[in-house]
């Protein structure tokens, strides 16, 4: 087993060993092992209630009240994107983006991050004046403005319509190419996973049961036969029978 090499030289950003989490006497994560390489885009699939959010919250350090054990190694610089955009309604858009920043160039960096997500000129708007997709783009800008080594996203596009979601996929891919964070994207959507990720994981019974590297050239399309093959095998792993469905 390789020794842990921290920061830029290491190829691994996230590592968990024997991660255990439960609520009451119900075990949700049961000795889960996970590794994510630097700059790697990983999508996490799993049935509803399989513990995807529990895992993500454990990695984000947001589960202090949850009983559990195990080893977690995540970079200090990590960001979370929630399913709801979670903008502070009493702060203008720019102030929301720079919330976690300090220093004299914060506003400058915030403006640049907003421009990257296509929202230049909306800095002084209130969050309620933005559409759902725009709010989620602000949340992306807020997550990326701190140049994180790890981006944790829990169904960030779940509340958006199909068309907006496709746009957001493109945006997310561009941003990830530019900023190169490692990404763990929790999603319900197998197509989303195959389109975006370098690797797709399926969690079941508290462990990772499928770990598939998606070896498809960009741009990926639903029409590629390999795309359909990946899609079908993942659906089967999730217990969805294509023939009957």
């Amino acid at each position: 087993m390789a020794t842990h090499a921290g920061g830029l030289t290491g190829t691994r950003t996230v590592r968990t060993r024997g991660l255990q989490r439960g609520f009451g006497d119900r075990t949700v994560l049961d000795g889960l092992d996970l590794e994510i390489g630097a700059g790697e885009f990983v999508a996490l699939l799993g049935r509803s209630g399989s513990g995807k959010s529990t895992l993500l919250r454990a990695l984000a350090g947001l589960d202090r009240d949850v009983a559990g054990s195990g080893l977690i190694d995540v970079p200090e610089k990590s960001s979370v994107v929630f399913q709801d955009a979670r903008l502070l309604p009493w702060q203008r858009v720019l102030d929301n983006v720079v919330l976690g920043l300090s220093g004299p160039d914060a506003a400058q960096r915030g403006r640049a991050a907003l421009a990257e997500v296509g929202l230049a000129g909306r800095e002084q708007a209130w969050p309620h004046q933005l559409s759902g997709g725009e709010q989620q783009r602000v949340a992306l800008a807020r997550a990326l403005v701190s140049e994180p080594e790890l981006l944790l996203a829990d169904e960030p596009f779940g509340a958006l319509d199909a068309l907006t979601r496709l746009r957001m996929h493109e945006l997310l891919r561009e941003l990830c190419v530019r900023h190169r964070p490692a990404v763990l994207l929790v999603t319900h959507d197998v197509d989303e996973a195959v389109t975006l990720a370098d690797r797709v994981l399926v969690v079941d019974q508290g462990r990772i049961t499928v770990d598939t590297t998606i070896d498809l050239p960009a741009p990926r399309s639903h029409r590629q036969p390999q795309f359909l093959a990946y899609r079908e095998s993942l659906l089967r792993a999730l217990g969805v029978d294509q023939q009957k469905g």
């Binding site: 947001l62 929630f82 009493w90 702060q91 976690g100």
Partner: protein
């Protein structure tokens, strides 16, 4: 040809039976100067009653008598002097009370220990009417300004505390989680999330507090006072001058309305990020 095709759907739409417009559930558009309507109606009733002779001038002086009396009181400077004294008492009491209420609410809202220690006593104070404390305060502080301002402070800090504390505690936990995920320093968390989140509650508390300040003022000024609007009214009672008493009452009412209006204005300015039923 094309025109007739385009026109057809419109005619068919017009031919449809008129649909009942959707009922709106909010209160609807604001009436211009709506807030002045009720008081003006009251004033009109009073004027008509006095002119028609239904109201005895010894029971209730006519509006115009009150206006002339107010003019006389202003001319000899009594009104301004007494008003200045009263305003100073209310202002001081309001300022101290607001600061104390806010600080207590922050301490008790942000720490379990603070809540355990502070919340009980404030609730007890809340259950005791301000008037009931005056005898004790007179024994402790005498009958000077200190006692008067203290009484007002005690009336003011409770609503500020209650509503600010409630505002703090009802901040959505998702925002707290956001703060944790961004690793905000406690000072930033306080300034960006806690204080703005509690601001609506604080401002609601302030609306009760300003009115409470004037109410406490009335009470303290009519006991052992030698200046202030309350004193002016008490003196008028001894000489049977209803008009002066009414000038005092109108003044209290105006001050209450004005200060409440000021807080509401501040509310509208500070909470412009909100979209509510009232908008």
């Amino acid at each position: 040809m094309t025109a007739s095709v385009l026109a057809r759907p419109r005619t068919s739409a017009e031919a449809l039976p008129a649909r009942r417009p959707r009922r709106r559930l909010g209160p609807g558009r604001a009436i211009p100067f709506g807030a002045a309507l009720g008081p003006l109606l009251l004033l009109a009733l009073w004027a008509v009653g006095s002119a028609a002779g239904w109201l005895d001038s010894r029971t209730l002086s006519a509006p115009w008598t009150v206006v002339t009396t107010a003019g006389e009181l202003i001319a000899d400077g009594r009104l301004q002097d007494n008003l200045a004294v009263s305003a100073q008492r209310a202002g001081l009491g309001l300022a101290f009370g607001t600061v104390i209420g806010t600080v207590l609410a922050l301490v008790s809202g942000l720490s379990r220990w603070g809540e355990a220690i502070l919340d009980g006593p404030v609730q007890i104070k809340r259950a005791i009417p301000g008037v009931a404390l005056i005898p004790l305060l007179v024994l402790w502080l005498g009958i000077g300004e200190q006692m008067k301002v203290t009484t007002i402070v005690l009336g003011v800090f409770v609503p500020v505390y209650i509503h600010t504390h409630n505002g703090l505690r009802s901040i959505d936990s998702r925002y707290v989680e956001l703060g944790e995920s961004l690793r905000l320093r406690p000072a930033v968390f306080l300034r960006r999330i806690v204080l703005p989140g509690a601001l609506p509650g604080f401002l609601l508390g302030m609306r009760f507090a300003v009115v409470g300040a004037w109410l406490s003022l009335v009470v303290v000024e009519q006991i052992n006072s030698t200046s202030g609007i309350g004193y002016m009214m008490d003196l008028a009672r001894q000489y049977g001058q209803t008009d002066v008493i009414i000038v005092g009452l109108v003044l209290y009412g105006l001050l209450g309305l004005l200060s409440d209006g000021a807080v509401r204005l501040a509310q509208r300015k500070a909470l412009s990020w909100r979209r509510t039923l009232a908008d």
